[in-house]
């Protein structure tokens, strides 16, 4: 449990949201509402930060529907290298970019994806998540998903940049995040304050993007039902 009252409250709400079984958008709103209620300053800074990213069309250059996602080879939590092209040989793949274990929205999204893993695998598809965190910290997300899918480490956001999804957290925003007790430099093993824009790509077995969600406003995530619907189409 965190010493910071905002973070402590968010941790509790995250657990509640994960357990609630409600639609993902509602669970995410529980967090956004609580941030706004407990720290209008933080919520206002987030509005300004994601507003600027949206205005600058951050993430717009990420691969589009109909294009392919470039191959990656990244280690999972056990240190085994996982290659996208090898996964695609077995069927469609859902590639998910998450910011890290410290982000309540990411934890809730990871848990919601964990809930559809069985359906996905019945449809012959695999889910993989990518975070810029070292394994020690990414393990938290693995707990939230019940180990349902591999979590891969993209240290230093190299793969995220190669698909135009890396953003820099400016000094005002990073000061607020660090002030809340979230030690991103330690989680990532560098002090660059880069994060991936949360994203979901549903790839057919040839690697072509069938559905895509990219939004620099990290409080909004892909519609999980739509992810399942695209997988049904691909099955």
């Amino acid at each position: 449990m965190s010493a910071n009252p905002l973070v402590a409250a968010l941790e509790k709400t995250t657990e509640l949201a994960i357990a609630s079984g409600r639609p993902l958008a509602e669970r995410l709103r529980m967090i956004a509402d609580q941030v706004r209620e407990l720290s209008p300053e933080f919520a206002g800074a987030v509005d300004a930060f994601v507003g600027r990213l949206g205005g600058a069309e951050a993430g717009a250059g990420a691969p589009q529907v109909g294009e392919t996602l470039p191959n990656f080879v990244l280690p999972d939590l056990g240190g085994r290298l996982v290659a996208l092209d090898a996964l695609l040989r077995e069927g469609p793949v859902v590639v998910v970019f998450l910011r890290g274990h410290w982000c309540p929205y990411c934890r809730i999204t990871a848990a919601a994806l964990g809930e559809i893993e069985e359906t996905a695998s019945q449809l012959g598809a695999r889910i993989v998540a990518i975070t810029p965190e070292s394994r020690k910290f990414a393990l938290r997300l693995d707990v939230d998903t019940g180990g349902a899918f591999p979590i891969l480490a993209d240290l230093d956001n190299g793969y995220a940049l190669s698909v135009n999804l890396a953003i820099w957290v400016d000094e005002g925003m990073s000061g607020l995040i660090a002030g809340a007790g979230w030690d991103i430099p330690t989680y990532q093993g560098n002090d660059a304050w880069m994060l991936p824009i949360p994203a979901v790509f549903v790839l057919d077995r040839t690697g072509i993007i069938n559905a895509r969600h990219v939004n620099p406003d990290y409080r909004e995530r892909a519609d999980i039902e739509e992810v399942v619907a695209s997988l049904r189409n691909l099955a």
Partner: protein, 299 residues
């Protein structure tokens, strides 16, 4: 940030001239300018100041330069790795470990790496620090695993992995053996059994001297089994990294006031092109859940 914006930013930071930067990227100057402006909008400030014929980095530009250089290099490396993974078959990876490092510290990591990269054949030799740095320079070893107390030469790149503490090893019937821990001051003039290859020992002795503690060397050996044998038979105390394998019939006590510890790092030669196996090993080491506290390393 987009890969292309990042490339243009790095070219302009090098050339400090829009025309030359655009030429070096094979684009028109307006295209380069638009990309830089888009990046500035995303980062929330000017990256360059344009004054008449001069262009220079703004404060934000200077702040971002090392981060952008690093993430750009990582993106290139990610792409290389995605391409080269199929080619890592029967590759030999030559690792040199400092002889004072216990295999216990690394075995879990090395086994995990081996399982994940079964095309890589690991060849590990050991030696004293000086010899190891020489072998790295000469290309005889590709990666060094080093726990060195002093500054590491600029020619090398060191990636700290974790810290390891040092302990006092005492004969069972030593007057300090029934204490929970041993203060440095209590070791004044105690007979000391010296491990010749321990670089940390020399470093620690200087600290001892500062406290007015004299170290009375009564035996020296290159071999830890000899040194431990002498301790067991009552000759004196010894200074060891905590991860060593100790016989049961000696007393192992933490050293305090001050504590001594060393960072254990992976060392490679700066600027040398490395094989994909070296890259995979370094990457795996960075993301491995080391059991002792990880050390924050700057990007």
């Amino acid at each position: 940030m987009e890969m292309q914006q990042v490339r243009y930013f790095l070219a302009l930071a090098r050339a400090l001239n829009f025309t030359r930067a655009a030429e070096s990227c094979n684009v028109t100057q307006p295209a380069l300018t638009r990309a830089i402006q888009a990046l500035e909008a995303e980062l929330g400030g000017r990256l360059f100041h344009r004054e008449r014929n001069q262009t220079h980095l703004s404060e934000l530009g200077r702040l971002m330069l090392p981060y952008i250089q690093s993430i750009h290099a990582q993106a290139d490396a990610a792409r290389m790795r995605a391409k080269s993974v199929g080619r890592m078959k029967n590759v030999e990876l030559k690792i040199g470990a400092m002889c004072t490092l216990s295999p216990n510290l690394l075995s879990d990591f090395i086994v995990a790496f081996q399982r994940a990269n079964d095309g890589v054949d690991l060849n590990v030799t050991d030696g004293a620090a000086k010899q190891l740095f020489h072998q790295l320079s000469a290309g005889e070893r590709e990666i060094g695993v080093v726990g060195y107390p002093g500054e590491i030469d600029d020619r090398f790149h060191a990636l700290p992995l974790f810290r390891e503490r040092f302990v006092a090893v005492l004969p069972r019937d030593h007057r300090l053996a029934n204490q929970k821990e041993v203060r440095i001051a209590e070791l004044d003039d105690e007979p000391y059994v010296n491990r010749i290859n321990c670089e940390m020992g020399d470093f620690a002795q200087q600290e001892f001297a500062k406290q007015g503690v004299s170290v009375r060397v009564v035996f020296r050996s290159e071999r830890d089994d000899w040194v431990l044998g002498m301790i067991r038979s009552g000759m004196g105390w010894g200074f060891f990294p905590e991860s060593c394998e100790f016989p049961r019939d000696v007393a192992v006590r933490p050293l305090v006031e001050p504590e001594f510890s060393r960072a254990v790092s992976l060392v490679t030669v700066r600027g040398r092109p490395h094989s994909p196996a070296v890259g995979a090993f370094v990457k795996a080491a960075r993301s491995f859940a080391w059991s002792s506290a990880p050390i924050l390393c700057a990007a």
